[in-house]
């Protein structure tokens, strides 16, 4: 179980894996995530689900190699197995349970940054297929980091690209594109944003200024991911909520993003140290990084 059937680099340090996980493939819904442990001494880390195929019994995950665990995953090859994959976790997107007739009335604008393109893909596909009007703003630092463009293009009504350096699409931030679209007369019923916490903070602020309801899918720290540890707690509307069981999606206008950003940094020092130690011990194999 949990062996890697396919691995493909999408951008520098960003790769997609197809993993055998038949139970999860059968029950996953848009908006949910998994907890993965690369090896027997590894961390449990939350990863988003980029796709699932109940027939093949597999799920897709897009991973950015930034920490100890994601670098170990990057070093794994087709045929290798993850020690553990548990899920699907969290609540499905609120639009999953919406009746088709109502969903058809929705004009959804997904705003994704970086690897946030991956978790929106199953949502975009399903809601578009069921009749919602779906547009996507995809932003990244530069053109190389815009991933899953073709897949998103195929399954939405309009894809809008932005890059910080202008190497693809509109030069600027995703919030600039949001303001442009609304200024030129486009109308949306909801904004759904997934990406770096700081980006979601500013998307929420921009959407609020435009009077748009907004949903953010939070990428907090987690340990067990099943409601046991409380590491993922966030303040939403003044109340403490657990991202793993109450989320990951919350009303973006109610989320205390400054607190959430601060809490994300909690283990930065330790993580950096472990990463350095691991690299010194030579435990992280760099062979195949670019395969």
């Amino acid at each position: 179980m949990f062996s890697i059937l396919q691995k493909r680099e999408l951008a520098p340090e960003i790769f997609l894996v197809e993993v055998e996980a038949p139970r999860i493939a059968k029950s996953a819904k848009p908006g949910q995530f998994v907890i993965v442990r690369a090896h027997e001494r590894g961390e449990r880390i939350p990863l988003t689900i980029a796709g699932y195929d109940a027939q093949r019994g597999t799920i897709l995950m897009v991973i950015q190699a930034i920490g100890v665990s994601t670098r170990r995953m990057q070093a794994m090859a087709v045929g290798d197995r993850f020690a553990d994959v548990a899920g699907p976790l969290g609540q499905p997107s609120e639009f999953v349970a919406m009746p088709d007739a109502e969903l058809k009335q929705q004009r959804l604008l997904f705003i994704a940054g970086g690897v946030g393109a991956a978790p929106i893909l199953p949502q975009v596909e399903e809601f578009h297929r069921r009749g919602a009007h779906v547009e996507v703003i995809l932003g990244a630092r530069n053109a190389n980091l815009l991933i899953l463009k073709d897949e998103l293009q195929r399954s939405c009504d309009a894809l809008h690209l932005t890059t910080d350096d202008g190497s693809a699409g509109r030069k600027g931030l995703v919030t600039d594109m949001l303001n442009d679209l609304v200024a030129s007369g486009n109308r949306y019923t909801h904004v759904i944003t997934i990406g770096p916490m700081v980006m979601m903070k500013f998307v929420a602020r921009a959407a609020k200024a435009l009077g748009l309801p907004a949903i953010a899918s939070l990428n907090t720290l987690m340990v067990d991911g099943t409601g046991m540890c409380g590491a993922c707690r966030v303040t939403v509307g003044g109340k403490t909520r657990f991202t793993c069981v109450d989320g990951p999606e919350f009303d973006a206008h109610q989320v205390d993003f400054d607190e959430a950003l601060r809490r994300l940094s909690m283990y930065k020092t330790q993580e950096g140290q472990r990463l350095r130690e691991a690299e010194q011990r030579g435990h992280i194999c760099k062979i195949g990084r670019n395969s």
Partner: protein
């Protein structure tokens, strides 16, 4: 009768000074000579109060009688009739309020060291694998591999049912793995108990979050299980709701213990990080608070235990409090936090507390702590661990139509574990709220009997 008038045989332990910096087991346990000497103290009462006080009614005088004779395998077989986790219970049961608390030797002196004798027997002799009963050709799913689930699985397997235990985590054992630290319950002991169950034919499936990966209804309708036992445990950690509780450096005891015990963050060979302040305030007074405090001590911290009642009311096992004191834990009793204080980076710099005094008894019969006006003071700390108990995880109840719950979230089950859903049984912390290993085990065994009856109908 002079032979049994000697005082309770002390148990050898790792010295407090050395164990403060390692995670190896504190208590070494008896050797054969010590165990036989201690066993002599048992009067083998005709009407043994210890048996009645044991939640699973182990025939204590009978097994101790065998220890006297040196028949340790016999003793193990007697315990195995009623307990599938003796090496665990010998270590973590609150004996002072159960078997040992009602031992007649305790009236005029010290009770027989029943827990230490149970542990000696379990560590020395493996009980013989029970002769498997006639296969029943019926499958039972157990949700959660903590003490309730394992006890239920053990009995059902003994009676010939085909049993699969599902767990959300990557290892089996539940709280025995993520909650109770290595120095109190070595994981090799848990593994041995799991191996014994596997030898009985119990199947384990980790990484299955029942309610998400698969529902109870799917287990019954499409996976071919005839009954389900839910022993999913305690659930979400509680917080106080005071200002500053989400600062960096405030964690639940569950998070801290999971990082240290389950993920083995104390070992640099494992990837999971753990943050430990130079000074740590642990809020609470139960076994979980003691475990968190003693882990923090081992990771180099100066630890304050902050508890709103007095030491006499600490709900933790007496032995844990005693060990924690030996290891240098500081007791801030009759003290209640009112605010977590922040530095300018949003990290903890201290805990503002108020002094308490004991007033009139409350509903629990304990004297209610009341604030002493104007007595606020600050404890300096870089980390605060909240060990305030848990509330039930809503996952299974919310995904199982027709499964009734109490208003506080616990699954409603009768004395034998039957719930409002036919074929669905429950027990342990998921039903009772946070309790002990042995009570969960007792509930698991009762449910096993009820499941057997249900499946024979």
């Amino acid at each position: 009768m002079a032979i049994n008038n000697h005082p309770r045989v002390p148990v050898r332990e790792q010295a407090a000074n050395s164990r403060r910096s390692n995670f190896e087991e504190v208590c070494f346990g008896y050797n054969l000579e010590e165990a036989q000497l201690e066993a002599q103290r048992c009067l083998e009462c005709k009407n043994p109060r210890c048996v009645a006080a044991c939640p699973v009614n182990i025939d204590i005088p009978a097994f101790i009688g065998q220890v006297k004779q040196g028949n340790i395998a016999e003793a193990a077989a007697i315990i195995a009739r009623d307990s599938c986790l003796p090496a665990v219970c010998g270590r973590v049961c609150p004996q002072e309020t159960q078997c040992e608390g009602s031992c007649v030797r305790g009236i005029k002196g010290e009770p027989v060291a029943i827990g230490k004798l149970e542990r000696f027997v379990a560590d020395t002799a493996q009980a013989p694998s029970p002769t498997p009963a006639q296969p029943q050709n019926k499958r039972v799913a157990i949700v959660g591999s903590g003490p309730a689930g394992l006890a239920c699985a053990s009995d059902l397997a003994k009676w010939g049912y085909s049993v699969t235990v599902f767990d959300a985590l990557h290892v089996m054992g539940g709280v025995l793995q993520y909650g109770i630290p290595e120095f109190r319950l070595p994981k090799s002991i848990v593994q041995r108990e799991l191996n014994a169950l596997q030898a009985q034919g119990v199947c384990f499936e980790p990484n299955v979050v029942v309610g998400r990966t698969i529902s109870i209804d799917q287990l019954l309708d499409t996976e071919g299980y005839s009954a389900v036992f839910v022993g999913s445990g305690a659930g979400l950690p509680k917080f106080m709701g005071i200002e500053g509780e989400n600062l960096n450096g405030v964690v639940s005891a569950n998070e801290f213990l999971t990082r240290v015990n389950l993920m083995r963050a104390f070992d640099p060979e494992h990837d999971t990080p753990v943050f430990v302040g130079r000074r740590v305030a642990v809020v609470g007074g139960g076994n979980v608070a003691m475990d968190a405090a003693r882990c923090a001590i081992r990771l180099g911290a100066e630890v304050h235990l902050v508890y709103r009642r007095s030491e006499a009311e600490l709900p933790a096992r007496v032995e844990e409090v005693h060990h924690a004191r030996e290891e240098g834990m500081l007791f801030d009793m009759l003290t209640n936090p009112v605010q977590v204080l922040a530095n300018d980076q949003g990290w903890v710099r201290g805990l503002r507390c108020i002094r308490m005094k004991l007033g009139e008894p409350d509903a629990s019969g304990r004297r209610r702590p009341v604030e002493v006006a104007g007595s606020e003071f600050d404890i300096e700390a870089e980390m605060v661990i909240m060990a305030l108990g848990t509330s039930p995880n809503p996952l299974i109840a919310s995904t199982t139509p027709g499964l009734n719950t109490e208003r506080w979230g616990g699954i409603i089950a009768n004395d034998s574990g039957a719930t409002s859903r036919e074929g669905v049984f429950a027990g342990g912390d998921a039903v009772s709220g946070a309790a002990t290993v042995i009570l969960a085990m007792g509930a698991g065994r009762k449910a096993a009997r009820a499941i057997d009856e249900y499946l024979r109908k």
